[in-house]
Amino acid sequence: MAENKKWMPRWFYQMASPRWSYEIMGKLMPWFAIPAAVLLVLGIAWALAFAPQDYQQGNSFRIIYIHVPSAILAQSCYMLMAVAGAIGLIWKMKVADMVAKSCAPIGATMAILALATGAIWGKPTWGSWWVWDARLTSMLILLFLYLGVIALHSAFESEATAAQATAVLALVGLVNIPIIKYSVEWWNTLHQPATFTLTERPAMPAEMWVPLLIMVIGFYCFFAVSLMMRTRNEIIHRERRASWVRELIEKQ
């Protein structure tokens, strides 16, 4: 144990304290909330009104500014959930368990958003609401993985057991995601040779990818804010018997 302390940074051990985490998240939150609001408003205005339209897809191309960030976020949120779960399993860190638990609903809504915008985008592009496109299918499976994690967590009565069990499931899912992605892409090329994919395109001009980048960063900041809000709630709930939570509640 003493050896560990040398190579892990100090904040890693401080994070194990729910109180320290609660306070640092409260301090960090505005630093993400303000950029999130600014970037999202700027990005949406740019995406809707100023970005040029696509020569092939016209104005329906503007859906990309929601679809791509939500898809990226849904994937990285799963990764964060699995990593946080692993930290919780290995170091028995309660706060990591809470972060992992808070990730699942946000990731699931992002997967739903990516699927919904993909389906809506499919209507003017392919002429139908749903196409078994490789990316959409992978995203659907990712949503199933999220739903499995949420269902498993809610099946346990003890919070600690639930966190450990879902961490194992999330890690198994993390190992499987590349295999699933590869197999689905391969299956797709077998059945639908060279269809037009929504987001794959040669070299986007700067007027198109700059707002996309802004939206991606905005989504990440928003995710950070939402995650911290949920994690702080979890901390209060799980630490409700601690004296610092009592003092906090009495002050409100």
Binding site: A51, N59, I63, H67, S226, M229, H237, R246, E250, Q252
Partner: protein, 59 residues
């Protein structure tokens, strides 16, 4: 600016319904992601306050 008038901006060359529907869904899901933790926090604090009051009255 890629649109000349506001009505053109709304119509988006006939693709308006798809674009606006996507952005509306995004807005709804974002609001849900913000409001649900806020409501949960309110509920948690009310619950804990009630518990504290109960403990004080019994002791």
């Amino acid at each position: 600016m890629s649109f000349d008038s506001f009505s053109e901006f709304l119509a988006m060359d006939g693709h308006g319904q798809y674009v606006w529907l996507s952005y509306a869904i995004a807005l709804v899901l974002f609001v849900v992601n913000l409001v649900s933790p806020l409501l949960r926090k309110k509920q948690l604090i009310a619950e804990l306050k009630r518990r504290l009051r109960r403990e004080k009255s019994t002791s």
